[in-house]
């Protein structure tokens, strides 16, 4: 933490739920009557909140939250009190396309790199139903002497966009830490958790089974890079299902839609991943 400033790098591939998380977080912070984890509460309304109200309205209306910011990171600062201490929480809203492009082109936007370099913690989002699994090497069953001949088949060009999710996320952490020059505390947030709950796994188990490369990377260096894994459904259900939309709409306290799970504990405390990150720095 630098003075009262705590900066979070909210990172994830396109459509991993970053803007939806910000919308729900903003709503809870401004509308909740009781402080969240670590006594986190909004100290005052931020000066520039037009964007926050816009995405909050979509979230409240049970509409898929649009990401309208495709260029430079949008500066968002939440003036908070955390256990009685004043902290300005910075969460720049960075388009997932920026992260996707960095993987595909091997370079980050300078502004994203700057945000990474000054971040205190990483909130890494991955969507539970958006995982691209790695393909396996094929058995090498060429016929005898076939290596002397051209098969006539043109090789398929490599398309980095099709790479496995876990490779992209491991590289994102590497790039962040290269920009920062040090390991970064990391909260992995598995979004659309409502779709994964039926499997009966904890978020840590889900990560181990679905993204084993990322899971190993976090476990192997946990002393240097503290980490925690959360399941999060900011909407609370599938908005494409009329039945679920109707059920969610009946909750007058919209904050109750939210599902947050860490280990076996389930709640609606969307502040919990942020609180965990801030706690690593205090």
């Amino acid at each position: 933490m630098t003075g009262n400033r705590y900066a979070i790098l909210l990172a994830g591939l396109p459509e991993s739920g970053k803007t939806t998380l910000i919308a729900a977080l903003w709503h809870v912070l401004r509308a909740s009557a009781t402080p969240g984890s670590e006594g986190i509460a909004l100290r005052e309304h931020p000066a520039n909140r037009e964007y926050l109200y816009e995405i909050e309205r979509q979230w409240l209306d049970l509409i898929e939250v649009d990401h309208t910011n495709f260029g430079e990171p949008l500066e968002l600062t939440f003036p908070l009190t955390v256990r009685g201490r004043e902290i300005d929480l910075e969460i720049p809203d960075i388009s997932g396309e920026n992260y996707g492009r960095s993987w595909e082109e091997g370079a980050w936007l300078e502004s994203v790199s700057t945000v990474s370099a000054h971040a205190h913690g990483l909130l890494l989002l991955v969507k539970s139903d958006g995982v691209v699994k790695p393909l396996l090497l094929e058995p090498d069953d060429e016929e005898e002497d076939s290596d002397d001949e051209d098969t006539g088949e043109a090789p398929t060009p490599y398309d980095p966009a099709q790479a496995p999710t876990q490779a992209k996320l491991c590289d994102l952490i590497e790039s962040t830490e290269t920009a920062r020059g040090a390991a970064i505390p990391t909260a992995v947030v598995i979004s659309a958790w409502d779709l994964a709950v039926a499997a009966g796994l904890t978020p840590d188990q889900w990560l181990e089974y679905q993204l084993p490369l990322l899971w190993q990377m976090l476990v192997a260096d946990a002393d240097e890079r503290p980490y925690a894994v959360f399941g999060l459904s900011a909407q609370g259900g599938d908005l494409n299902s009329d039945e679920q939309r109707a059920e969610l709409g009946r909750l007058t306290d919209a904050g109750q839609r939210i599902i947050v799970q860490q280990g076996d504990d389930r709640s609606s405390d969307i502040v919990a991943p942020l609180a965990w990150l801030i706690k690593q720095d205090t």
């Binding site: 993987w103 091997g106 790695p134 393909l135 396996l136 090497l137 094929e138 058995p139 090498d140 069953d141 060429e142 005898e144 002497d145 290596d147 051209d150 098969t151 088949e153 090789p155 398929t156 490599y158 980095p160 790479a163 496995p164 876990q166 490779a167 491991c170 590289d171 952490i173 590497e174 290269t178 084993p212 490369l213 190993q216 990377m217 476990v219 192997a220 260096d221 002393d223």
Partner: protein, 327 residues
């Protein structure tokens, strides 16, 4: 968690035999500056170069200068299976821990992904023309691993995905070991015997001779690259040898014994690893043997500081290195 330190041991000829610990080797050399560190310090503004997801020599040196790093070179002819072994190792990590090791990161994840893509092509990972030149220019892949339950720092590996043409040039006398900086910097040389060639009677003699010649070249290079402390014999495509109907297995092992005889002056047993990275038989799972290789790379001490310098002046060696990095 167990708190068992990583051992520094040699893998015997028969992997099932007990390993022989070499506990002191790494700590003895830990404080001395390396050639790499000196070179990295001489060009601090050019820390890392990437292309195709792999690292240039300078990029590799920036890692070696920061952390204690083992350098691994797979030596073998074109299409002997070098790239496939590296792709297979990464692919295995993509499914979970390998040989008791956790994946702890990589500065070249995009490079590994490209390598796996090449490996999935029907025409084979090492077929000339498939990004071959690209990888020859930027050969280094980085892998950071940690033994599960070990409380110490992770181990960094720099893996040279070098074109087989370099080794063909060595055999043809067009190049010497001193012309290939990756080689004389290596802590581990894996001498590849191409199982596909041993599986075919008509190609056996050529493959045997190539392996003996390459080993002899290393032994006569004035370095310790051909010694048993550095060299591991790796039989690739063991599944093809295994399923061959004639005496392919016996012929292969006879060549291994000849290699062992070449290095008969040493007490250390010759290390042998059989791999079947893209196995076609059910006896061997995909990636068979790569866990043994990884264990070898992490168990062995970092020995490059013990390598005698090639017989040229220090200035020339740096020039050679610089030229290779600039290429």
């Amino acid at each position: 968690m167990n708190d068992t330190p990583e051992s520094d041991g040699e893998m015997p000829l028969n992997p099932s035999e007990e390993q022989h610990p070499r506990p002191e080797a790494e700590t003895e050399v830990a404080e001395q500056p390396t050639v790499d560190e000196a070179l990295a310090a001489s060009s601090p503004d050019e820390a890392t170069f990437h292309a195709g997801g792999a690292l240039s020599g300078r990029g590799a040196l920036s890692i070696a200068a920061q952390r204690r790093t083992s350098v691994v070179v797979l030596a073998g002819a074109v299409r002997s299976g070098k790239s496939t072994i590296l792709a297979s190792l990464y692919e295995r990590f993509g499914r979970g821990p390998v040989g008791g090791h956790l994946f702890a990161g990589s500065r070249t994840v995009p490079g590994f992904e490209r390598l796996c893509h090449r490996g999935r092509q029907k025409s084979g990972a090492d077929r000339p023309g498939m990004e071959h030149t690209h990888h020859a220019a930027f050969p280094w892949l980085h892998l950071c691993v940690k033994r599960a339950g070990y409380s110490g720092p992770p181990r960094d590996l720099l893996l040279a995905d070098m074109s087989g043409e370099h080794f063909e040039d060595l055999l043809a006398g067009k190049k010497e070991v001193r012309d290939i900086p990756e080689l004389w910097r290596a802590d581990h040389i894996c001498l590849l015997l191409d199982g596909r060639n041993f599986a075919r009677a008509a190609r056996r003699a050529g493959e045997r001779q190539r392996a003996l010649d390459l080993c002899s070249t290393f032994l006569s290079s004035g370095t310790d690259l051909g010694t048993r402390t550095v060299l591991t014999v790796v039989i690739t495509k063991w599944d093809l040898i295994h399923r061959a109907e004639d005496d392919a297995e016996e012929a292969t092992m006879a060549t291994v014994e000849e290699l062992e005889h070449l290095m008969h002056r040493e007490d250390v047993p010759l290390a042998l690893v059989r791999t079947a990275a893209r196995s076609v038989t059910h006896e061997f799972p995909l990636g068979h043997g790569v866990d043994d290789l990884l264990n070898r790379w992490t168990d062995r001490p970092v020995v490059q500081l013990d390598h005698p310098a090639p017989g040229v002046s220090a200035a020339s060696r740096f020039d050679d290195f610089s030229r290779s990095l600039a290429s």
